[in-house]
Amino acid sequence: MRLTDLPIQPQEPSLPVVPVPPMALDALSDEALDALPYGVICLDPDGRILRYNLAESRLARLDRNQVLGRAFFGQVAPCTATPEFQGRFASFHAPGASAPSLQFEYVFDFKFGAQVVDVELFRSASPGRTYVVINRRKFLPQRPVPARTLAPRQADLAPDEVRLGVLRDAGERRRVRVSPLLFASLRASWERVAPKGWGLFSDEWGFQFGRLAVVDLETIVLEKSDRTMRELPMKQVIELVSDYLASEGWGRLTVDFSPAGDGAIVLKLERGAIAEAVGISELPRCHLLAGFFRAIFCHLANKLIVVRECACRSQGFDACSFVVVSQERRAALEEAIEAAEGDVPRVLTLVGSRS
């Protein structure tokens, strides 16, 4: 298929709603491991780190690039160099041991606080490899333990990185400051190469970006409430997402829940960064954010949800409006957007009458 043959409307990807069997972790790509909402570390028989997923990186506040290849028990997590953790790991690998898994509770001691966790060791299909799956259960203040046993901070592992142009936020995540003009130049590039491909590409890009943001958001919720996003009231989740987007400079998100009884809600983004960057347009241009929202809502609902932008600031409207419906209403929504030409109330009426 040539790029110019790409369809305008994005396809709904399949959504993994079933938890990943731990024995299948070996078969997952690094990207798939990064979409898991719990920590996953792969160790060799000496305890050297071979794989380290995004959730673990976020919760331990350590950059994956700085921990890969290091000794887990000696350098990255000295709080685990105990009979209760390292001893169990050694027993798990002792000659003749064959149990497929081993589960125990533990407390991680970081310099920024302690974490009560459930640990499960899984024997990999690859000889000598062990997967350590870590579920956080509770966040505590720092405990009075010997300083040498505390897990290091990112700055301890890479003390010279500021001089080398590495920026980090309060959660030790690496940051790159970019202008919204990056999106304008990207869209211009698509216009030159494959005009019909922009929507498909940026929606999928936003969806993948949103899946990673889910890990971040779940971590924020877990640290504050020991709950998951799905369990929180819908309104509270929206406020969380809105604050998250605003803190990153994307604009201010609000939601109109009033059409929910008819099977839809409307997201409104004021001062959207993409819409203001890409210039005047005949069609909605915030596919990246539609994909981002879709990932968030699919995660929350644990099923396929459809999000489409039906009016965009780049078209001259005051704000960008996205309509959220279930997968069953997808066709009705797309027909309604086509017919309503940016009139959001009319889109909702049409969706309601055609469903």
């Binding site: 996003m229 369990e231 009231p233 309104k235 839809a264 609902a301 644990n302």
Partner: protein, 51 residues
């Protein structure tokens, strides 16, 4: 009908038509309808599942 009345106390011996009217009246006393979705009360998962 009192809003605190238990539905099970009301339905014994009713015909299906009477039962339907009773259920409707019961919801009316609560000023609540099955289609009303309250984002402040429902969990995110339950809210989106009802869309």
């Amino acid at each position: 009908m009192r809003a605190s009345a238990r539905l099970s106390d009301l339905v014994v011996g009713l015909t299906p038509a009477q039962l339907a009217m009773t259920v409707e009246a019961f919801f009316a006393t609560l000023e609540w309808s099955p289609k009303r979705l309250d984002p402040a009360l429902l969990s995110a998962e339950a809210f989106l599942d009802a869309l």
